[in-house]
Point group: C2
Chain length 351, copies 2
């Protein structure tokens, strides 16, 4: 969506005077954040919010379209904060083929021969730039030009979305630290870190911008939750079985990183029920520095246990339920078609 | 200000359902944040904002008082984010006599015998809780009940304040890393990390809430900038000469931490001009693990060079200018008196 990028670019341009007044390298740091935001991603969240708005009767050629587009684009700034901070938390070194923000500033520190610890400096700058993205997300919504009524309608949605995604991130690191093996715990992370944040709340936001009634809001939210969870389950499969050329991550990355996914929890549950040797293999392997052949062994174990088939079935069921919710909703025909395509694209098996 | 605490407590109570829905320990983590916010500080920023509003004609017994108080209290949530994240960046272990947030969660991780690195876990949780405080600051403003007109008036002030304080924090770590020795660089940090954020913008916010005219806004901002810088200069003196029993920090803490304060930059400038031995002593000592007797030597050097007298003089001049700006402003008589007391208390020599 080129319009989203333009809206973001305009927003950054509008912040230049304020940033330049501070001076002393702040501008250069903010430019790093801007590059990160502008080069990034598929704009999934603005796309769902915008389509949600259209589906609730928004008019892409009407006077509200510009303000609404800006409000939807602000989701990318929340996402910039989430990614920059997550990359510190996960100690990730690359993102979208570039060094992560904290790595880039650590490198600048090292190259400059500055005093203190380079890694710590990089993390400090990345914490501050993530904060700035989060603060600016609010500024961008507030300055979007939407009506005070629309502002009031989206306020609880915007609030819930940020509270939920931070909760989902918290559960994620907390489950990993506690080595929580339950399917429930993994499912909660999917619900809040991904489903609510990526699809349910963006659609809800779009609906609230349009002043949709409760029936449509409820349909959107059920659709968004189901597709969002299915999307994360697909991502879990990709994290173990995905082609590095497609995912951009090393093969079996989630196993090495010790991610407590639903796929892994289901594998463990099945192994505990009938295959103690497989259970031991899974527990000993997860979160360790696995060789490629170790990864292959774990993959085969997970498949043989039937967990892959389980997860595929769950994705299929969720997508079917979601599409039927959408079909019987009061969204416009064009939006139904568009959202169906987006849902299928987000959950399709393509490896 | 007990009213500020009540407003904050009510806000946290209002967030409980959202937090409980996420579950899995999120509530306990949020309670840690709440405790941090409620036990904290002198509420300087809400006090300046509130007094600024009164001084611009706000009526403490009128219908706007409740909403305005809530909007002013939201400043404490921005401050919670700033402190929690700053403590990670500065690797501080205690704050207000308690373990810092990242240290507390690292300890929880260690005690629980959880997997992974305890320090890294603690920092991850603290990053997320700081983000939550920042997001909730916006929610609290938005839900404060101020009128749409007042919202529109404060929007650019709120935006500038957050952009400036993050810029000031960035300059702070960047100056330290680059070992920038200029007075200008140190003064910029004072301006943005402290003066704008602590006094100038809170007053500006109060004025904007009341719909004050440009003349009063301008007077408030000049007063706030001068007092804010004087306050930081006083803090710089305390960081080197303060009594640990009063400051709550080890004696000479800023010297050990390598803080590039105006006091230190002035000392260096004077030493470079006529005392190369003192200059060498200062450069070799700053940011190292100084013994108490080393600290004493550096203190004596700084005093002998005349830098303390310089800074005291600068504080005195700034306070005098600020009070005269305030006196000739159109603020109410009661607010002038109150702001004078607050200004004097914030900049007084009391060690």
């Amino acid at each position: 969506m080129a319009e989203v990028e333009n809206a973001l670019r305009d927003f950054f341009t509008g912040r230049q005077d304020l940033v330049d007044a501070v001076g002393g390298g702040y501008r250069e740091a903010v430019t790093t954040l801007e590059d990160f935001v502008l080069r990034g991603g598929k704009r999934v969240r603005p796309a769902f919010a915008w389509t949600g708005w259209l589906g609730a009767g928004g008019d892409a050629r009407g006077p509200e379209a510009g303000p609404v587009l800006r409000a939807c684009s602000a989701l990318e700034l929340v996402q910039a904060c989430a990614l920059v901070h997550d990359d510190i938390i996960d100690a990730s070194t690359t993102r979208r083929g570039f060094p992560t923000v904290h790595v880039e500033f650590a490198e600048q520190h090292r190259t400059g021969g500055w005093s203190g610890d380079s890694a710590h400096f990089g993390e400090g700058v990345a914490i501050l730039l993530g904060d700035l993205a989060l603060a600016w997300a609010d500024d961008m919504i507030r300055e979007s030009g939407i009506t005070p009524d629309a502002s009031a309608r989206i306020s609880p949605v915007w609030s819930a979305m940020r509270t939920e995604v931070l909760g989902g991130q918290f559960l994620d690191i907390s489950n990993e630290a506690r080595a929580d093996e339950s399917i429930d715990a993994a499912m909660k992370v999917n619900r809040y870190k991904t489903a609510a944040y990526t699809i349910e709340r963006p659609l809800h936001l779009g609906a609230a911008l349009a002043g949709a009634d409760d029936t449509l809001v409820s349909a959107y939210r059920r659709f968004g939750t189901d597709i969002g969870i299915a999307f994360q389950l697909r991502d879990d499969l990709l994290g173990v079985f995905g082609d590095p050329a497609v995912t951009g991550k090393p093969s079996g990355d989630d196993l090495r990183a010790g991610k407590r996914t639903v796929l892994f929890a289901m594998s463990l549950q099945r192994a505990d029920a009938g295959d103690p040797a497989a259970a031991a293999l899974l527990r000993e392997g997860i979160g360790t520095d696995l060789s490629d052949s170790d990864v292959d062994t774990l993959r085969n174990t997970i498949t043989s246990l039937g967990a892959v088939a389980d997860v595929e079935k769950q994705i299929e069921d969720l997508v079917a339920t979601a599409l039927s919710t959408l079909e019987t909703s009061t969204a416009t025909t064009a939006a139904k078609q568009q959202l169906t395509e987006m849902a299928v694209a987000a959950t399709r098996r393509d490896y």
